[in-house]
Symmetry: C2
Subunit: 255 residues, 2 copies
DNA sequence: TTTTTTATATTGTAATGCGATATAACTTAT
DNA sequence: ATAAGTTATATCGCATTACAATATAAAAAA
């Protein structure tokens, strides 16, 4: 990955490897030197130097009992990313209107290969707190946004993504069979939107329509998420699919 | 800052210096090598190596015309930060209720010395898009959240913060005189909340109450923001101050 | 307490990141 | 169009920096 690449700065890669280890941290997002060493496989001295430097730079903070946590300084980069993204700029007012019109939770997700990341979120009711945060990632194969994006990609690319995905159930009802997932993606292609019933969470119904960049590459999706206690699948789609599709089209920057 | 510190990894500092330069980027958040060199003062080869490495790691993405933009991968860290923060965990449902109860915009900000960062936000109506994003920073001296946090800090610490702040007006009505700012902070201490009228934005009235950690250090604030077309200062405070104070108290983790 | 584990400080050394330079690719001016 | 100028990418020898081993100190565990 980085061998015989004389421009590749290995120490930087190690630092980010260490930072990424905080995603695998169990309770409280706290890691000790020992934890970092175990999670990354880095040398103890490297862990020492990197954590020391990152604290000085403000990207790690020291917690109690010789632990480290991610620094709040990372919020800065997220802000700069979102603020300058043309897609986010266009999506922001559109999602706001969509949320007011539907009363349901609406999200904008960005496609990242085997995962999607939620970038903008308009929540309607109380939910598992972290499930509604910006930056949350979920597997593409199980999320409506992931499926609808894949429905606009070439078959071989899609199969490659599925093959590289860990097909771990996200809810008791998650479809994890390769062929069934591919069939769901085909269905999304026909409909122009993906529908996920209880794929991520029991009781949840989500519908998503894809967003495209100027080269007509699908880059993300608009989601509308409701509750099965309020809707049956048919009426949910009838009401919301046209809205999601039109919102996604407005956000898209197609040539 | 880093001299004769044998544990300090300079190349890492350079990489973050480069990443931080994207905050100063003008249009579109795009930077060329030349821009990075100018903004950071780093050697051209260093810029080349760092940008190259950051692209490989996914923390920079290549834009059109040899430009670079921040990678969406930074959203991951923000998610991990927010998800593991005890303050955020407690605040999330409380802010949701507060927003439903008031119908106004409510925010949770975190204190970062001369600035505050917005961490959680519940928007009510359309606003200047980026003003309502997570990660937005504003000067402590002009924000209600900053002022109310400072009202719980020792006088000399507050004066030091003000002295290190660039007292640049954020709206035509921003108070920028040292003594007036200190007076506003004193007033906040008496009231138990800070009130800012058109300090950041014309037509906006904001009220904030401080949040404390287990050591009784003020670490952030709950904001309620309304419009002067809907409220006069008195009734805004009468209705919202008790709500903000009680929300802040519930979020706090005082001993 | 003692023992063991984990964190921090120190140091000599080699590999890595450095910066100069060369080449290539793009812009701008003529 | 072509040339001149600018900016990006590739290459390379060298010094510095990051490295890993180790010593000391501080917490945990026994």
């Amino acid at each position: 990955m980085s061998d015989d690449d004389s421009l590749f700065v290995k120490s930087l890669a190690k630092a980010f490897q260490l930072l990424e280890a905080f995603e695998k941290s169990g309770d409280g997002g706290r890691l000790t030197h020992k934890d970092m060493k175990q999670l990354t496989g880095l040398d103890a001295s490297t862990v020492q130097r990197m954590s020391h430097t990152l604290v000085k730079l403000g990207y790690l903070e020291r917690g109690q009992n010789r632990t480290y946590v991610l620094g709040k300084k990372f919020l800065h980069f997220t802000f700069e990313y979102l603020r300058h993204s043309q897609t986010i700029q266009r999506a922001s007012p559109i999602l706001m209107d969509l949320q007011n019109e539907t009363g349901e939770r609406v999200d904008l997700s960005l496609f990242e290969d085997v995962e999607i990341v939620y970038a903008l979120r308009r929540q309607s009711k109380r939910e598992t707190f972290f499930a509604t945060l910006t930056g949350r990632r979920v597997p593409s194969f199980a999320a409506s946004g992931g499926r609808v994006v894949m429905s606009h990609l070439p078959r071989d690319v899609v199969e490659d993504i599925i093959d590289r995905s860990a097909l771990v159930p996200q809810s008791p009802k998650t479809v994890t069979s390769r062929t069934e997932i591919l069939a769901e993606i085909d269905r999304a292609r026909e409909l122009g939107y993906a529908l996920c019933i209880e794929q991520m969470l029991i009781g949840e119904i989500v519908l998503a329509s894809a967003i495209f960049d100027e080269r007509n590459t699908p880059i993300g999706a608009v989601h509308i998420a409701g509750s099965l206690s309020d809707w049956d699948a048919d009426s949910f789609c009838r009401k919301h699919a046209p809205l999601a599709i039109s919102a996604a089209r407005m956000i898209s920057n197609r040539s």
